[in-house]
Symmetry: C2
Subunit: 310 residues, 2 copies
């Protein structure tokens, strides 16, 4: 009898496993380190071994969903730089070994958005976008309950939206002025570095040796003027990304997740105020909310892929 | 025997009819003025009468597709200010009168994008966006061969993307700095008006009484410096809109249509150069092309809706 669904989030550092029942209630979750040696050739072996260990009767598994860190179009992985994978048809490679035809794969940011859309902050809405503010800026878009992949898997690459600004920062992608350089954790320290040069008054951050985004948010909440100006500027850029999403794909909910979103309502309120200043009237009702699934969004969304297709 | 499909583009000034065969070859097209009196209550009568006149055997019609100037979600029209229509279930209202269940409706910009995607400049691609630069700026987005409507029909409202700039112009929507105020025909004259104040050298446009976008493009092609700077600035904004679409919905083709696009390759080349400066590497292959269906994109796309659903 079919009783389980696997949601598996394959990251560059760890592989997260979620074992769900057929109603997508989480039964158990665990993770193992990702073995990226030899172009990630051992990753599939490790996954199959874990699955066999936790569910010896493979017959009981209804299907498997995967999130991977790279562009995916129609169940085929184009490239995952962090894993060493190129042009990989994951379902075809696992079909026999897992004795299952229900195998689906999506980009990790998209899959996380699907998780939040269905089971997290999206509360089952059909049109949801998620912006993940971590060391980089990720984004996934769900349209009519399905992941929007785009023609080559570059949908939701809003982290590389160019923000016209004076003296833009260089992005890891090679371009200057990407959203990621002013809205990720690193981006927020970039703004701080730029802004403190012209700031002559006292700031508690002057006494901090290596200022992090977390320091900046804490200082801002303590009413430090410089820190507040930094957070305000970052909030504007995040709000601008929300505005871009609202006039392009028109989601009913935009979910803000990732480490930076740990600043919580303090940051969210600023984003919402600035979004309302930018928003086209019919998109004013777009809700902007904090993610609720944290690091589990990926395994939930991956499992959701199976329900969606299966 | 079913042999016809209607594509009907309902505008505020005229209703365009396209009679197609089942392979979407255009048999005949014509238009009638739109009677918007009494909240557009006579429009449906006029449509039914035209259809009966041109295809007396309603049995021969496979289906009807409509484009309307307002937000549409799942076949229900929310509002068409120009027609006087509010919350109108067009298929339900026409089902009996046209003796047909195959009736579909979409927003006009979206439907035009579908027309260009399938039968125009998109050459049958599945992921296409279209930007229409007319008196306003419209946009339609096709994802996996289907119109992206968004949760309340405001997808592709890129005309109301706020462009951060000094001294932004007021938009008809009430907001300041919308793309429409700097990229539509009016928008291009806005840029001219702003730019000529600081321009001290001679321009052929000095001798023109009421400068239009057409005048500006003509002067630019004659190497007028001021006119060229105006066109360059407008081209940057249009390229920015293309960039926004490419990092959000990731189309393989972006079609530029509308009156402003009559400036042709002269404008297109400038847009492409600036797009490449802004683009995230994986979106560099996104093609930007001129529309090919002109004013017929709406009837083609409306007919396409029928094929898609029928």
């Amino acid at each position: 009898m079919k009783r389980y669904i696997y949601g598996i989030d394959v990251g560059g550092t760890s592989i997260k496993f979620g074992l769900f029942d057929l109603s997508l209630a989480l039964i158990r979750k665990w993770e193992i380190p990702t073995n990226t040696t030899e172009y990630g050739r051992y990753i599939l072996d490790d996954i199959v071994q874990e699955v066999n260990q936790h569910t010896p009767l493979l017959d009981e598994v209804f299907g498997y969903g995967f999130g991977v860190p790279g562009p995916v179009v129609k169940n085929v992985i184009h490239i995952c730089v962090n894993l060493g994978w190129v042009d990989m048809d994951l379902p075809a490679l696992l079909q026999n070994r897992l004795q299952n035809d229900n195998i689906y794969v999506g980009n990790d940011a998209n899959v996380a958005a699907l998780g939040e859309a269905f089971l997290g902050a999206g509360h089952g809405r059909q049109n949801v976008a998620m912006i993940t503010l971590g060391t980089g800026v990720g984004c996934g878009i769900v349209v009519d309950g399905r992941i929007l992949e785009g023609y080559n898997g570059s949908s939701g690459e809003i982290g590389h939206l160019t923000i016209p600004q004076q003296n833009p920062f260089l992005c890891k992608c090679g371009k200057k002025g990407c959203l990621e350089t002013v809205a990720s954790a690193t981006g927020i320290t970039n703004i701080y570095t730029r802004m403190k040069q012209g700031f002559l008054a006292y700031s508690v951050l002057n006494d901090v040796r290596k200022v992090t985004a977390k320091d900046i948010f804490e200082a801002a909440q303590q009413h430090d003027i410089l820190a507040n100006e930094v957070v305000n500027e970052a909030a504007f850029y995040i709000a601008y990304a929300c505005h871009v999403l609202s006039v392009s794909t028109n989601p009913s909910v935009i979910v803000i997740g990732g480490g930076v979103s740990n600043a919580g309502l303090f940051l969210l309120d600023k984003i919402i105020v600035k979004f309302h200043e930018l928003a086209f009237t019919p998109t004013l009702q777009t809700q902007i909310v904090l993610a609720t699934l944290g690091n589990d969004a990926g395994i939930y969304g991956a499992a959701g892929l199976v329900i969606q297709h299966g």
